[in-house]
Symmetry: C2
Subunit: 226 residues, 2 copies
DNA sequence: ACCTGAACACCGTTCAAGT
DNA sequence: ACCTGAACACCGTTCAAGT
């Protein structure tokens, strides 16, 4: 396991734009409280003032440790994938891929609020880039030709992140509507295909099973790229 | 083409929770201005006060036509996929799927701000449910067994929406970092696989070509489900 | 039916000042 | 190095009142 995004490790105080500020422990505390707020009450409940109040400090005190609200959200974004297992390179590539995908899904499910940031920010953090490094390695191990590795990594990640964020963020809820509700929200229009499939559509979805089935499909797609 | 989500069509003043309010034209104007703000300045620039100011009216005047900020965002969400072509049923299923996917991508690209709402809200609007109806029909035409139609529709949609929202929302930008930048943001850690792939990773990405290639992969996956 | 005005409880962020 | 206090320009939403 590699835990966190590197507490004392990050000696560069200006990773890209300059203003990272302070050395770590106080900033980690701020980001930790922000993550708690996001986990418990959603991303919109994350405010400088609410964080400051929980720390027993003035809102302005935060600005010495964090690059404003936007910088704080960047930090939150970086931490969604902040605790991922290193993959066992002795396993077959597809087993490594399953393990990595399950870990990413679990991490996103435990931070549904912050995970919404994934689609509105570039995947540029330390952890994110290491995850991509691992995925590239697995793709090559699977026999994907070098010129196609980047696209297939993006295809796999897009599905994986899309699935997990949909689960936690709300796109997949409320599971499925009943046939009656569907008819109503369609404005009374006929939905003949829905009605023909009612037997299947009215069952509750087993999201764990769906994730595993999708995962096997995506693995088959990578296997076929050889 | 079916345009809009139904101006005078929506006679039910309470689709699910009661407070839709007013008959249409004024609400359409409000939502239109909100969409302009989201398109031009991002989702966070959408505020009741900014909309009211553009309309030359008091913020409170909006509450007669729209169910608060949250209701307004629901409306915006519903309109992202609000102008989609009806598919030509005489075409082969895979051609229908290509046409539908390209239309969805185009619609999301023209509303990148509002498209971020896709992953945090259930896909329950009128248009959304009609799109799903079309996708179900195409899946059946492709020979997907009835018990597997819903999962495969979600798998396809998750990729499609994930790709398009990533493009417009920022996950895919700034394209790819240079090898040097990658090394820096990884905290100085070695990225041997990245470096081995540098020849490919340092090229700019052709997103249109990538979308088409992914689309063919997803179609192959559906074809394989027979 | 549609809109206003005042008010309330919030935001993020600046600046100068304190220790 | 770290924090405060006052101030500024914003938010969404309530309520009672106007026409």
């Amino acid at each position: 396991m590699m835990r966190g995004t590197g507490k004392g490790t990050d000696t560069s105080k200006g990773t890209s734009k300059g203003k990272s500020k302070s050395k770590g422990s106080r900033r980690d505390e701020i980001v930790g409280i922000a993550m708690e707020l996001a986990d418990d009450q959603g991303l919109r409940a994350v405010s400088m003032r609410a964080i400051a109040e929980r720390m027993g400090v003035t809102p302005m005190a935060l600005y010495a440790h964090v690059d404003g609200k936007e910088g704080l959200l960047d930090e939150l974004h970086g931490r969604v994938l902040g605790e991922l297992p290193v993959l066992d390179r002795d396993l077959p590539w597809d087993e490594q891929l399953r393990a990595g995908a399950r870990a990413v899904r679990a991490s996103i499910r435990s931070h549904p609020g912050a995970s919404l940031l994934i689609f509105e920010r570039p995947a540029m953090g330390q952890t994110a880039i290491r995850v991509v490094e691992e995925l590239y390695r697995v793709m090559l191990a699977a026999g994907v030709p070098a010129h196609d590795v980047a696209r297939r990594e993006r295809l796999f990640s897009t599905w994986l992140l899309g699935f997990a964020v949909s689960e936690g963020g709300g796109r997949f809820s409320p599971g499925r509507l009943s046939t009656r509700e569907r008819r109503a929200t369609a404005g009374g229009a006929a939905l003949p295909v829905h009605e023909g499939l009612a037997e299947w559509l009215d069952r509750p979805v087993d999201w764990d099973a769906e994730f595993e089935a999708d995962l096997e499909d995506m693995i088959a797609l990578i296997r076929g790229a050889r």
